[in-house]
């Protein structure tokens, strides 16, 4: 029988669409990630929450806008009053993939509201 069932044609079309779409996305990635770009991390902190055990939890989201993945991203939160550093907390995120975000949290013994700065201090290239 030389006639192909209709379903086979539908699937072939579906497969071709998915395949070509995937290839197109990956190919467009090539030009985007030219020149070994570094990760570009932005940290957004949420309002501190008392955790009910005498500490305060600050949850944060790290967003990586660059087309390069960062591994072992260290996020440091410094609670300071003027020049004086009151408390420092650190968290390590396994991965912040390219164009993606990852979440974590830092605990502080004092209420950090209004006195907290969060920054990424380092990463590893995967």
């Amino acid at each position: 029988m030389s006639r192909k069932p209709l379903l086979e044609w539908l699937m072939a079309g579906f497969g071709a669409t998915l395949t070509l779409g995937t290839l197109a996305v990956v190919a467009s990635d090539i030009s985007v990630s030219q020149g070994d770009p570094p990760p570009r991390l932005a940290i957004a902190a949420e309002a501190p929450q008392p955790d009910g055990q005498g500490s305060f939890l600050v949850r944060f989201t790290v967003t990586n806008a660059a087309p390069a993945t960062a591994a072992q991203v260290t996020v440091e939160g410094v609670l300071s009053e003027g020049e004086r550093v009151l408390e420092t907390s650190r968290a390590v995120l396994d991965y912040v993939p390219r164009g993606s975000s990852a979440r974590g949290g830092l605990w502080f013994r004092q209420d950090p509201a209004g006195r907290l700065t969060l920054r990424a201090t380092g990463y590893a290239e995967p």
Partner: protein, 277 residues
Amino acid sequence: MTEQSAADRGGNRAYAVSLARGMAGALIFAFPLVMTMEMWSIGFSVTPGRLLLFLVLGLGVLAGLAYYSGFEPAADWLDALLDALGAFAIGLVGSGLLLWLFGIVTPELGWRAAVGMVALQAVPAGMGAVAARRQFGARDGEAREDRAGYPAQLFLMVAGALFLAFNVAPTEEVLLIALRMQPWPLVGLMGLSLLLLHLLVYTIGFAGQEQRPEGAGAWRTFCAYSLAGYGLALAVSFYALWTFGRADLASLPMMAMATVVLGFPAALGAAIARLVV
């Protein structure tokens, strides 16, 4: 008219059954890699150019497999290409579904990273789809691979080596083993790989190759099949390491050692290609 549409329904049903088989095969072949942690991070940190090359080569391998051993007996290369596209799509859907169910592809993951992660899994999953359609759907008559010539057998060895090597290549263990091995055991591993490859080619029989090729001595068979197969296995191993970025910062001796270590599963894959893919 009615007979015609009845025949169409039958054809559609048969094709749907073979699709389901393909999906089952894709999941069976893909799950070890989907459940390997390194594959997730490689998916979003692989160099896009290498990923694209891998996908294009992978499609070629799928088309070749569909041509030589496809379940829907592929009439010609266009047919084989359609089969390959179908198998690749099944691989994408199957591995994407698993990654999503496992909570690895999440909304927080950017869509480009997600596409890379799923696409990397789609090639081995697609090989499962092609293989399952053949294995589960046992049919009478000999598959085309039984009539295949020498180049086709080399191709099947490459496909088998690629599949088994890819199951191990992303893991940290390959480099760790290479670091731990002393030079002499490493040479021994090469000998063992070659020996196993040679024995398996005979005992299991390679595509109607239970006996030596007519008029060919043991020495010639060894060179034409075992030695050639091991060479291909080493090349495939190096390619897999390179694709996964495992080769980038290593020295040449280190790379050679890792290639030999990965060459062991690759040689086994080449030897049993006919059973696996």
